[in-house]
């Protein structure tokens, strides 16, 4: 049915591993979906080779993720595809909520300027995946094996062995570390006997992608009880290629097969878009949504990422965006462990950090879905009360919940932070570099970054990279606009670095490779910075010793 996109077909290729004795690789990733691909590129960017196995021979098919958050774009920028996503994607910041015929609420997700990326772009998931496949190939470090279906998993203390089915028959493959990125129906998860616990929402949604030329603004429009779809909800979103995403709530009793037929779908869409609207159906599916996760995401040598670890309803766009944050969190840690620069125990922090973040996603998605699909007379009464009040009573508008959209996780209780009030991702800000306009975030990508906010008085280390024999700490000096120029420094021309990061001259912040802040200080003391880095690497002993030396 899709007319605007033709799925590429990636050829199956026989691997030498299929001929020799059982081969062993440091890292194998099961699943070349959005999250598995992001993991492969991330690890490659950090110099780690991976083998990626996927049972299919193409990228994702039909209507899936469309809303990619600012944080995802920032991470994808580091992975080399963020610009493409921004250029092709439909930028939006504003959401509007209607009840019946009237608008009751709107929200601006990025009310300030001075960020390289918008709050969201809408882009079909297959584009993001296609570009990640190309990126993965370009790194030369990703061995992507299509039509390789994992059919067996033996996890041991020192590694994992897989059985793989291919068009040429089966072969075994061993690895030191396994990333299970095989989606919501994860085979690896089932093989390990892990329970996927949570809630299924008793409702059905028609997801229709239609091709149409229309001039609705590029905003997220959500209706409760609209005149064209009485008693249910509806969502309208613009995608590239003149494709529009329409979600229509159908109720639990709807027959999913019947609802997918064009003779059912077209009248529903005409009621919404107008009798004369001209559109072509691109893709139709009917979904039931759930919010659930496994207890722990690390099981010895196996890590679960993305939908294999957790699943949320799409209200809030926290599925794919949450999954990308999983890999952003895990990959630098795994790379340091593989390079012998961090202890294996660092990998436990993946659970410590991503489980609370996942719970936040599940909580928000559950609350939105509960609001949209009331499950008993009491929840319906409160929902309708909020909606009816919202028309006349401004206070009630903030209670209208049509989805609280994905935000970057704040790792507030992270064991890797030195001090409270940390764990947030660096906000972006415009800067000048050698007199030219630039952004702050791309300067926080590699290893650890010590950001020093400086005026003329501030003493700054002479080297641009410290600790080269260990895990490097890169020095990034950001100068007050009026300060004298220093080589390599960024200039905070608009004062937004100081404002958004809460920095005054002389103060510093330490960022981890995933751009989360892990320490800050008033005056630069290198022992303190080193201790904070060691702590963020899970080197608790060394960090404590360094801390004692400072005292």
């Amino acid at each position: 049915m899709p007319k605007t996109y033709e799925n590429p077909v990636f050829a199956y290729r026989r691997s030498p591993d299929q001929d020799g004795p059982e081969a062993r690789h440091p890292v194998v990733i099961v699943g070349a979906g959005l999250v598995g691909l992001a993991a492969a590129v991330d690890l490659a960017e950090r110099g780690v080779r991976t083998v990626v196995l996927d049972d299919d021979e193409t990228v994702s098919f039909g209507s899936r993720a469309i809303c990619f958050s600012k944080r995802t774009l920032e991470i994808c920028d580091r992975l080399g595809v963020g610009r493409q996503m921004l250029d092709k994607g439909i930028t939006w910041n504003l959401g509007r909520v209607f009840f019946g015929e009237r608008e009751v609420y709107s929200f601006d997700l990025l009310p300030e300027s001075g960020h390289q990326f918008p709050a969201f772009v809408n882009l079909q998931q297959y584009y993001a995946e296609e570009w990640l496949v190309a990126r993965a190939a370009a790194t030369g470090l990703v061995d992507l094996r299509w039509r390789n279906r994992v059919t067996g998993v033996q996890a041991r203390d020192d590694g994992v062995t897989l059985q793989i089915e291919t068009p040429d028959g089966p072969y075994p493959l061993a690895c030191d570390w396994l990333l299970a990125a095989d989606g919501a129906k994860s085979f690896v998860r089932r093989e390990l006997g892990l329970e996927f616990k949570g809630q299924v929402f008793k409702d059905r949604f028609l997801i229709a992608d239609v091709v149409m030329q229309a001039d609705f603004p590029t905003e997220r429009w959500f209706w409760f009880d609209p005149p064209f779809h009485k008693g249910q909800s509806a969502l309208l979103h613009k995608q590239p290629d003149d494709v529009w995403r329409i979600d229509l709530q159908l109720g639990w009793d709807a027959d999913p097969e019947a609802e997918k037929r064009p003779e059912k779908v077209i009248p529903r869409l005409k009621a919404m878009l107008g009798e004369d609207a001209r559109f072509d159906l691109e893709w139709i599916s009917v979904y039931t949504f759930q919010c659930r996760r496994i207890d722990r995401f690390r099981h010895g040598r196996v890590f679960f990422v993305g939908d294999a670890a957790h699943q949320v309803s799409p209200f809030g766009a926290r599925g794919g965006n949450g999954g990308i944050q999983d890999t952003d969190n895990l990959c630098w840690k795994l790379a340091y462990v593989l390079q012998g620069k961090a202890q294996e125990s660092l990998l436990d922090s993946y659970d410590a950090e991503r489980i609370p973040a996942t719970d936040e996603n599940i909580l928000n998605s559950t609350r939105s879905t509960d609001f949209i699909t009331p499950k008993n007379p009491a929840s319906r009464a409160f929902r309708d009360a909020v909606l009816e009040l919202s028309a006349e009573q401004p206070f009630a508008r903030a209670w209208v919940n049509s989805g609280r959209l994905s935000k970057p996780a704040v790792l507030s209780d992270s064991p890797l932070s030195s001090g409270a009030g940390l764990g947030w991702t660096a906000p972006d800000a415009p800067v000048l570099r050698d007199g030219r306009a630039d952004w702050l975030l791309p300067h926080l990508h590699e290893d650890f970054t010590l950001l020093i906010y400086a005026d003329d008085e501030t003493a700054v280390p002479e080297e641009s990279v410290l600790e080269t024999g260990d895990v490097p700490i890169r020095v990034l000096t950001v100068m007050l606009p009026q300060a004298a120029r220093r080589a390599g420094a960024l200039v905070d021309a608009e004062g937004l670095v100081a404002e958004r990061l809460g920095l005054a001259p002389g103060q510093w912040l330490l960022f981890r490779p995933d751009q989360h802040a892990c320490a800050r200080g008033e005056m630069l003391d290198m022992a303190g910075v080193r201790a904070a880095r060691d702590r963020a690497l899970g080197r608790v002993e060394r960090a404590a010793a360094a801390q004692r030396m400072v005292v």
Binding site: Q199, V200, K202, D384, Q393
Partner: protein, 75 residues
């Protein structure tokens, strides 16, 4: 220690009670529930302090007999 004021504060409770019942006259079950819900939302917003509303919720819930609700399943 609670901050919810549970001392008697309404001068003529019978009148207000009557008004509450009166408001529900001729309403079906769903409309009635919705009316109560609106009232709660308006008053909660007026109080402006979620902790106080939660205290009231605890008291209100304390005497209730419960049964397992059909609601949404788990899986």
């Amino acid at each position: 220690m609670g901050r919810l004021n549970t001392l008697g504060r309404i001068a003529a409770p019978d009148e207000l009670y009557e008004a509450l019942l009166e408001a529900h006259r001729d309403l079906d079950e769903a409309e009635s529930r919705k009316l109560d819900a609106k009232l709660i939302l308006l008053l909660a917003n007026h109080i402006g302090d979620a902790a106080i509303v939660r205290e009231a919720l605890d008291i209100a819930r304390a005497g209730a007999t419960t049964q397992t609700s059909p609601g949404s399943g788990t899986a």
